[in-house]
Symmetry: C2
Subunit: 358 residues, 2 copies
């Protein structure tokens, strides 16, 4: 039987609850395909700050690096909001992404037929939305140097960051995006601000250069402000979107809200080699933490992405995806996606229902 080591990073807020559910589903679905796991739970984010003083302890990063895949819950909370930058939970997440070199962040935004009413968009606009945002995750303004605080030539205090992309950073994310688009509808839209920013002009130039390796994929370009509009106007026009770190942060969250059910949306962060990082796109939701109210399905679907993209175990992944759809079809809903006529359940009960469907 196949055997993998998985690092579990429950993190903060609702993180532990959703990780617990997802781990059980992952175990069961995999075992039916003859797959076994060693799970290793490590602290990250606020939880790690509280127990070790650092948002990403060295032990956590090295365990993650040595494992076959990493499943993360959520990080952050009011408690650490005023911390200095190097002691913010978010900094731990950024260090983890950088440490694992997971430069490609895949964020699907799909409107499930069972949940089309959850969208704030009109039914005819939301129905059938099925897009994938490929976000560059370890470069751009998130990591660019120089950065910091200082004084300018007029003696004024300043805060500054650098948006910077190098050839290989763009080329590799572009290739992931073209490969992704090829497996989907063959349409890729690269989003930038090339009418204003040199970093975007360079981005567009490299993406266009890489396009010659993928003659079967249809490439288009769109300015980020227009993309933010088009996602609201007609999200179905998009299949695969590729963009930089900060634009991807904004647009993938916008796209996820368009589905109306961010409690449902998973993500995968992949590197050239080494373990991938899998996490729900929602946050740590401190207001409902520990109340058994969280929707675990985004993390369950992240476990499916872990199987598919992280381990190449497509069959086990499909079992999880099918189980989630089945559970929804059987009418089980957590509060965030509840609508009249369905059965309102908590985080744990939702997990039990998914297990029944696996």
């Amino acid at each position: 039987s196949k055997h993998y080591t998985i690092t579990l990073l429950p993190g903060d807020g609702i993180g532990p609850e959703v990780i617990s559910v997802a781990t059980n589903v992952l175990k069961l679905a995999a075992s039916l395909e003859g797959i076994e796991f060693d799970f290793q739970e490590m602290p990250v984010g606020g939880a790690a700050l509280d127990s070790t003083g650092l948002p990403l302890p060295a032990e956590t990063l090295s365990a993650a690096k040595q494992s076959d895949a990493v499943l993360l819950g959520a990080i952050g909370g009011y408690k650490w909001d005023k911390n200095e930058k190097h002691l913010k939970p978010e900094t731990g997440l950024l260090q983890l992404r950088a440490g694992l070199q997971v430069f490609a962040n895949l964020r699907p935004a799909t409107v499930l037929p069972q949940l089309v009413d959850a969208s704030t968009l009109k039914k005819e606009v939301a129905e059938g939305v099925d897009l994938m945002v490929v976000r560059e995750l370890t470069g751009g303004i998130y990591f660019g140097k120089p950065r910091g605080f200082g004084v300018n030539e007029n003696g004024q205090e300043i805060g500054f960051n650098t948006e910077v992309y190098a050839t290989h950073e763009i080329d590799r994310i572009a290739r992931v995006a073209f490969e992704t688009a090829r497996k989907r509808s063959g349409k890729l839209c690269s989003v930038d601000k090339a009418n204003v920013l040199e970093a975007s002009i360079f981005w567009r130039k490299r993406v266009t250069a890489i396009a010659s390796e993928y003659p079967d994929v249809e490439l288009s370009h769109m300015y980020v402000d227009n993309a933010a509009m088009q996602l609201v106007r007609d999200p179905k026009q998009f299949d695969t979107i590729v963009t930089n770190n900060i634009f991807g942060d904004i647009l993938s969250d916008e796209a996820s809200m368009i589905t109306g059910s961010i409690g449902m949306l998973p993500s995968a962060s992949l590197g050239e080699s080494g373990p991938g990082l899998f996490e729900p796109i929602h946050g740590s939701a401190p207001d409902i933490a520990g109340q058994d109210k969280a929707n675990p399905l985004a993390t369950v679907l992240s476990a499916a992405m872990l199987l598919k993209y992280g381990l190449g175990e497509e069959n086990a992944a499909k079992r999880i995806e099918a189980a989630v759809l089945d559970t929804l079809s059987r009418g089980y809903r957590t509060g965030d996606i509840y609508s009249a006529g369905n059965k309102l359940v908590g985080c744990k009960e939702m997990g039990e229902e998914v297990l029944k469907s696996v």
Copy 2:
């Protein structure tokens, strides 16, 4: 009688058509308040590139500076899309903003009762949306240095830009935002990415400092990715939003699309002193240019903002706003906002109907 000099910058695409309509409405509404204008038409954008080789000729900038207010149509078009950066129409617009030092860009996004069906959002979500984005317009990554192309320490080609804000840049836009919020509902939301960017940490610090001058205004902070979601989830939660140049570019376009009628939305760009710049938020729409199909109402409403914010002529401004609402109530619609049961008209006829309502 009062007398003002207005610089008209028709620009490209549908620019000349909408400027022509707006100028007529402006003239009539103002004359009823005893106001006279000298209009001076100057080239900008692609039109200026074609006639002078530069996207913002020196004569255009100096005419604009010497006038009491500037009314702009739209700039850009396929024809100049491949131009180098310093010869792009957009560069002319950026030079104009910088030259006039109009650092405060006010972008209202209002869902008019007559047009609520135009939104792709569900009626109950869109109805009553009435927010104002106050975007910093002459700083940040749009203008920050260093910027350009180069080679990094690994010999890789790079493209880079600098996001930078100094104390006085944040303080002055924050004051405009607090003043704006004070005149509206007294709620201001500052949008940044302070969990990742030093420029945003500094932004938040200064906005918070300025808040002490406005104890009557309720200040909140939101991360930009969350703001992009919340605009889709529940746009009515916002009244006044203040944010940096690039986030403002993205969020104001998203907000405008939420109204469903970007052909209706005006903007004002204001400096400490000197003439303001007033323009519709829509682009030059080259595909329908010269076909008498454009919606002139965004430019007509920009003329109203010119009267109100640029010249302090509130009464004349109100005449225009009332005339637009009246024209819509009488059922006149250009193609972009047409719905069954109304009267489909072109750009010119819409202008004539507004004139009747003034």
